[in-house]
């Protein structure tokens, strides 16, 4: 946001630093959502052309077995030989009519792809988020408290290692230790085969395994779901937890130097209380903002975790669909990710507003 207003109106009664409250919450939500549209449009255009200048789904699927003439004929039939721009408007027309299409590489409606794989990714991210929060926030606070002493140094090194080590390497180590070595946890997947079979007997299944297992009340199945989730959640959680740790530490330290902390100190408030009460809430606002973005990025960025642990989620499928040049599927997933990013931004803002009285509406 531009700072023009803030700096040029000579110290007019202090304005809220975030945004000027305008027209109430409803209007704000509306504007926020309207802003998603151009983003989605840009993404859609970008994805279409990027995917299509690099090939078409047919060549991807059949390039190794058809004669060039046969292939050309099939491409013509599917309309891939028309100018890209024509195909683009064709596609756009479909989208505008609400037709997101069916994937080429597995003949599934895009909506189904989104619910199935989206739910898988959502589940993974939620588990990982729990791990990351449990690790990152308390450890970050400890690091801030013991600032520049050895616990701080150890924690920071661990945090950096957490996000310096590629997730596939961490995943491999975890698998070797806990699955192959100790045999405690399954190697990969979201469920054992038998678990999948019992799951498939559920009427009206939700795409969320944990929910279904709970609904079924089958403790074995629940255990199976949880056991499968542990390693992927830890692998992704360590990565994100490292980032959270750094974030919490930085902001806690930053807030501790604020004058209102000094002011509270001058009235005899204890150091411990300064950290846990006075500094925490103001520090939470930037923390929540960044965490929100992080979660949004995790939703699309868990490709490597998903691949390593056989977790059929959005990221993994997106990579697969890309290889197959299945631009319909890619398009759908990317759009959903954009909406998720926008929604998480929005949620973050609302949460921040709940904490920060200055941006309330």
């Amino acid at each position: 946001m531009t700072s023009v207003l803030e700096t040029e109106v000579e110290d007019a009664p202090r304005r809220s630093r975030k945004r000027a409250p305008g027209g109430g919450l409803g209007r704000y939500i509306l504007v926020r959502f309207l802003l998603i549209i151009p983003t989605i449009f840009i993404l859609m255009t970008m994805v279409f052309f990027l995917m299509r200048i690099t090939g078409d789904p047919l060549t991807a699927a059949l390039g190794g077995r058809l004669t060039p003439a046969q292939l050309a004929e099939r491409r013509a039939e599917a309309g891939y030989d028309r100018p890209l721009i024509v195909q683009y408007f064709d596609y756009l027309g479909g989208v505008l009519r609400g037709d997101f299409g069916t994937t080429y590489s597995d003949n599934t409606p895009v909506s189904e792809v989104l619910t199935t794989y989206g739910a898988a990714t959502f589940e993974l991210v939620m588990y990982a988020l729990v791990v990351a929060l449990l690790l990152g926030v308390p450890l970050g606070m400890i690091a801030a408290r013991t600032r520049d002493r050895w616990p701080d140094a150890v924690l920071r090194i661990i945090a950096i290692l957490g996000y310096a080590t590629p997730v596939f390497f961490v995943g491999l180590l975890l698998k070797l230790v806990f699955s192959v070595g100790l045999g405690w946890l399954p190697v990969a997947g979201r469920l054992s085969t038998e678990g999948q079979i019992s799951m498939s007997t559920i009427l009206n299944p939700t795409p969320f395994f944990l929910l279904d297992a709970l609904r079924l009340g089958d403790m074995e199945l629940l255990g199976d779901v949880v056991r499968h989730a542990i390693l992927p959640a830890v692998a992704l959680g360590i990565l994100t937890g490292g980032i959270f740790l750094r974030l919490v530490r930085t902001n806690m330290i930053g807030t501790q130097d604020m004058q209102y902390i000094e002011s509270a100190r001058s009235r005899g408030v204890a150091e411990r209380r300064l950290t846990t009460r006075h500094a925490l809430r103001p520090a939470l606002i930037p923390i929540i903002t960044v965490m929100g973005m992080q979660v949004a990025l995790m939703l699309g960025g868990a490709v490597l975790t998903e691949t390593t642990f056989e977790w059929n989620g959005l990221g993994y499928m997106l990579a697969e669909y890309m290889k197959a040049r299945d631009y319909v599927a890619v398009q759908g997933i990317v759009m959903m990710l954009a909406v998720i990013v926008a929604v998480s931004n929005f949620v973050v803002d609302v949460v921040a507003a709940l904490i920060d009285p200055r941006v309330r509406y």
């Binding site: 090939g55 047919l58 077995r65 003949n107 599934t108 045999g183 074995e220 390593t308």
Partner: protein, 549 residues
């Protein structure tokens, strides 16, 4: 550990809630067959067998896909007019849903159906369904479908409820029976499948429009498919040994390998890396099954752009041929087979792989040291005689993501072998699959890797698509004599006569080296020790029916 403690209870749960009546009736059969099985799980009732794979499924509708993963599913759930018997050594089609099938005239292939055939949903399977199946393939001609295999089919005529005639364009096509076993062959229910559109997977499953040994009871594409034996199946494969089968799809072969080692799955079909297979061979808990493979790997030479090719700066057919032959002289297939693939791919010395009529040893006889090994002196002489400048600059392309990631090792080895004696300077490159597919037919690559998996197990499928003038390689190899011989063998009824023609064609092409055969992939399946009946044969198809535990 966890599995042993976990499995029996869950089985019980499974039974108690399973709404699958077939399961109980199938129990008796499985316990009989799987008597040798260890572990307490058999007592709980019908054993479910789990098969793992890394293949990908595209569609359940046979008109909509043309790939191995989908085809493997069709093999289990659809009936074919003709199929290759389990354990077949020559890969010849035999009547499956058909009672009999033969040429009744030059251009008419008549098939008679067995009596009383039905689909799993109870619909009768008649000649109307057969006609519907093939008409539909031709009508839809889905860009991603296998309809091109029916290139020689003119029309399908119903004679009566049990008799149907296939009218062909070219006479006496000996490949046609094979086509009926191919991915274009699954017979579909005319009452369920629309004539002009692809049917979504879930509707097919819901309509139980299956006529094969198995009925699909649940369908989660590329995750999990469950099969139950179809009680009224009358086809070639007979009653399945295991009534309840689960096919589990993996994204990562390592996970699949660990799962079979841990006993979480019973059987693995495609694909494991050579390292995994070597490791599993040393594991007492599992059995590695090998069978003749229909898959071949080869190097294609582009006659326009390979060294001294027609469109290069210095075109010289004789020199170009010498270069290709020198490459053939230098390759040590056995070494690649051993070091890169641990024997899971075997040396291929002719165009038709071992296990099919016509397979020969042309490249062993004509090139190298005469027994399959490399011969640098011979190559040097060949090049010097032709006046080729040494070292020859050769650009070689391979693809890292379509034929397994050992391709990198394979071509690193090829490069090393060619360069070992200073005769070649190889510029080795790799390209992502889609781009690769476009580039290779646009004369971008002078020499490049390719692999082939047959549509059906006829030797013709290794010759016509490659060396006929209108071939899929697009490498500008043209030879009128080869063209004519290919056409002749198709119309030759006598197997021995036809085999002689196969040899003749291969001799001709091996001299020119349009492509250079490298390796033949064995079919490999891995099962736990208690699993029996895994059969890998010349059909090159994986069939679940005979497997039990």
């Amino acid at each position: 550990m966890f599995d042993a403690a976990f499995t029996p209870r869950r089985r019980a749960v499974l039974i108690s809630m399973a709404g699958v009546p077939v399961l109980l009736s199938a129990c008796a059969q499985t316990t009989e067959d799987g008597g040798g099985g260890s572990g307490g799980s058999d007592d709980g009732g019908g054993g479910t067998m789990t098969v793992g794979t890394t293949d990908k499924v595209t569609a359940l509708d046979p008109a909509a896909a043309y790939d191995n993963g989908s085809s493997t599913v069709w093999t289990q759930c659809y009936g074919y007019l003709l199929s290759v018997a389990i354990g077949s050594e020559d890969g010849r089609p035999e009547p499956d849903l058909a009672e009999s099938a033969e040429f009744t005239s030059d251009t008419v292939y008549t098939v008679t159906l067995k009596e009383g055939l039905t689909f799993a949903n109870g619909n009768e399977l008649t000649t109307e369904d057969v006609k519907h199946t093939f008409d539909r393939q031709l009508t839809i001609a889905d860009p991603s479908g296998p309809s091109s295999l029916l290139g020689n089919l003119d029309s399908v005529e119903i004679v009566d409820d049990l008799t149907v005639e296939f009218h062909l364009k070219e006479p006496d096509d000996q490949t046609f029976p094979y086509v009926l076993t191919s991915p274009v062959g699954p017979i579909v229910d005319a009452e369920v499948f629309p004539a002009d559109a692809v049917l979504p997977d879930n509707e097919i499953v819901a309509a139980e429009a299956f006529s094969g040994p198995y009925n699909i009871t649940s369908w989660k594409i590329n995750e999990l498919v469950t099969y139950e034996a179809f009680a009224d199946y009358q086809g070639l494969y007979g009653t399945p040994a295991t009534s309840s089968v689960v096919m589990s799809y993996y994204a990562d072969q390592n996970n699949m390998k660990l799962d079979i080692q841990e006993g979480n799955i019973d059987c693995v079909w495609r694909s494991l890396s050579a390292t995994d297979i070597a490791d599993l061979q040393g594991d007492d808990g599992v059995t590695v099954h090998e069978g003749p493979g229909g898959e071949i790997r080869y190097i294609v030479f582009n006659f326009h752009t390979n060294p001294y090719g027609e469109k290069t700066e210095d075109p010289d057919p004789a020199k170009a041929k010498a270069v290709r032959q020198a490459v053939a002289d230098l390759l040590d297939r056995a070494a690649i087979s051993e070091t890169v693939y641990n024997g899971t791919y075997t040396p291929l010395y002719s165009y038709i792989p071992e296990g099919l009529p016509g397979s020969g040893t042309q490249f062993q006889d004509l090139y190298g040291d005469g027994s399959g090994g490399p011969d640098a002196d011979r190559a040097t002489k060949r090049l010097e005689d032709a006046g080729v400048e040494i070292p020859v600059q050769l650009s070689l392309q391979y693809n890292p993501d379509h034929y397994g990631n050992s391709s990198g090792d394979e071509y690193a080895a090829v490069k090393n072998q060619l360069e070992a004696d200073g005769l070649f300077a190889v510029d080795l490159q790799s390209t992502e699959w889609v781009q690769y597919s476009e580039d290779r037919v646009s004369d971008v690559y002078p020499a490049y890797q390719l692999g082939w998996f047959p549509d059906y197990s006829d030797a013709d499928n290794y010759l016509a698509p490659f060396f006929a003038t209108e071939n899929f390689l697009g490498n500008h190899f043209e030879n009128a004599e080869v063209d004519e011989l290919i056409a002749t063998q198709r119309g030759t009824q006598d197997p021995a006569e036809r085999e002689a023609l196969f040899v003749q064609i291969q001799d001709l092409v091996a001299e020119e080296i349009s492509t250079l055969p490298l390796l033949q992939g064995a079919q490999i399946a891995v099962s736990t020790a208690e699993v029996q009946g895994v059969t890998l044969d010349s059909s090159f198809k994986f069939r679940v029916s005979p497997i039990s535990k």
